[in-house]
């Protein structure tokens, strides 16, 4: 059974009701268990669990330290292009937005890679808008050998591709691919994606399965929090994770929780998530899955990120520029996908991590191992 078929068995309204009607006893039962099921996960993200936040945080910290140690992996995104052939209501790269479009050429990429290397990073996340014409496989074939020559760990966050293309990316040295479903609610998905290939909900939903079939080392999933009811979307992300883990047992998984903010552009999120609820979600994912990597980006504030370090997070970006060419040329700010909230330099973030009693891991992969 595909995940699409599994998802079709759920009724969104029923899931919403189930989560919101969880009781304190349901939460306590979940907290008493070592191996949690999806029903327990619903209890932990329910309003009833808010009263148990500290207990959840303590447990999440303990499990995370045991499985990952007192370590935080550092990575940095490199935006290769802001060209996009989709029209999505919530994204700065949306085709309808009148911004200057840039796709980095080989010379510009080299300058960016050099600037990033100087910052100390060894794990790079390549990001593009979704334009198959400009940033498709021919472009990646040119870019990846340059990147892999300098960085041991290479992740990508680009438009969904076919399985054969992922197989080629793996052979070119890509270690991980992140692909977020944005929302698992088919109807809501159609409301916010107006034009372009991204409108195909099922093609996007099946992307992690194509990645798994291609034998990629790590698959990143998640929902764009706020597009639909956050509790529903995060529940489906957990169900997706469970489905994928059982099927693609040789791949690692990571979860991100990019949160839409009410102040960004004219788009109004359908469901707002408070800091407290984000902490609840981080802890719920950790209690549900002891081994999944949990990643926190610079969308979140310095204050939040500093305090989230010991809660269950295992990897963080630092000093992100979301505009193509933004590391080598820091003068222009006109091309950004979204505004970041934590603009500290990498050494400042590293100092905060150390202050929290954790070690910064810059390198956790070696090219010789594929």
């Amino acid at each position: 059974m595909s995940f699409s078929e599994l998802l079709a068995q759920y009724d969104s309204a029923e899931v919403h009701l189930a989560i919101n009607s969880k009781s304190a006893a349901d939460v306590e039962r979940a907290l008493a268990k070592d191996k949690l099921d999806l029903d327990d996960f619903q209890a932990l993200i329910s309003p009833a669990a808010e009263a148990y936040l500290e207990q959840m945080a303590q447990r999440s910290q303990r499990i995370t330290q045991q499985r990952f140690g007192k370590n935080q992996q550092f990575y940095i995104p490199l935006y290769l292009s802001n060209m996009c052939s989709n029209v999505c209501e919530y994204c700065g790269f949306s085709m309808g937005n009148k911004i200057r479009r840039v796709t980095l050429d080989e010379q510009a990429i080299d300058a960016e890679l050099e600037a990033i290397k100087q910052l100390g990073f060894d794990h790079i996340l390549l990001v593009t808008g979704e334009s198959e014409r400009l940033t498709g496989m021919p472009y990646f074939r040119k870019v990846l050998p340059r990147v892999k020559a300098r960085f041991n760990h290479v992740s990508m966050e680009v438009q969904p591709l076919e399985q054969a293309e992922y197989e080629e990316l793996v052979s070119l040295g890509v270690d991980a691919v992140m692909v977020y479903q944005e929302t698992y609610n088919r109807r809501r998905y159609a409301e916010v994606h107006h034009k372009g290939k991204k409108c195909d909900f099922d093609f996007r939903l099946a992307t992690p399965e194509r990645l798994g079939e291609a034998g990629i080392r790590k698959i990143g999933i998640g929902a764009l929090i706020g597009l639909d009811e956050w509790r529903n979307d995060c529940f489906f992300a957990a169900a997706h994770l469970q489905y994928l883990e059982r099927r693609y047992w040789q791949s690692k998984f990571s979860i991100s929780f990019p949160r839409l903010r009410p102040c960004e552009g004219s788009f109004q999120p359908k469901s707002l998530m408070t800091d407290k609820q984000l902490v609840q979600l981080i802890c719920a994912y950790r209690l549900f899955n002891h081994d999944v990597e949990l990643s926190l980006s610079t969308r979140e504030s310095e204050h939040f990120r500093n305090h989230a370090i010991p809660l269950g997070i295992t990897s963080m970006s630092a000093f992100s520029s979301t505009q193509p060419g933004g590391y080598a040329d820091t003068s222009s700010k006109a091309l950004e996908q979204f505004e970041i909230s934590d603009d500290r330099r990498p050494e400042e973030v590293a100092a905060a991590v150390r202050k929290a009693g954790y070690q910064v891991v810059w390198k956790d992969w070696d090219r010789v191992m594929g």
Binding site: G69, K70, W362, W365, D366, G370
Partner: protein
Amino acid sequence: MLNIADKSFTSRLFTGTGKFATSELMSQSIQASGSQLVTMAMKRVDVQDQDDDILAPLLKAGVNLLPNTSGARNAEEAIFAAQLAREALGTNWVKLEIHPDPKYLMPDPIETLKAAATLVEQGFVVLPYVHADPVLCKRLEDLGCAAVMPLGAPIGSNKGLRSRDFLEIIIEQARVPVVVDAGIGAPSDAALAMELGADAVLVNTAMAVAKDPVAMAKAFAQAVEAGRSAYLAGLGGQQQQAMASSPLTAFLDD
């Protein structure tokens, strides 16, 4: 004294380098443990960087390095990692770890056997991390591995010697040192492994995630010594029933 290949160790406690909050804490814990053999993941170490957080303190401490191939999913990747370690660190010792399953890090017996054959042939001192599988351990020994490292419980689980029955068989049959690796969560687990006759134990998570890793390292050192002493002293066997002071067959001695 424990001998593995061309090296002798007075400490039978081997340690790892992962999961510590700082490199200083790692260094101090290793020092407190008295460990003379320390394993480290090649994927974590930047061999180009003399100031690498993990490598630099180990080189300074002068401990023996046991690079591991953690992260390798098959024999080919593990062999590459071992060759990288030999070239970069000048040691032909390698802890062979192959786990295609990134969740529980279960060692792959088929790929491990394949890689061990090649690495032994290439002159490596191979210490394979394996399930507590007595037949596999014999196979690896026959290939020329310098020791075997069966797991006590899933790695990082701190669950102790869940594989005790099989460890006992491995220890009974082994002609090479047996190092119990993975799962040891408390000094009492380490002591038990040593009492069973293991030649050494390898501990990482239980120290690194302790509230006071340095104190815990010391506790492990003491436990390993106590366990070894008990093994050498010869533990009394356990009895289900009390031994009668006037046994039924005593008349035969009359």
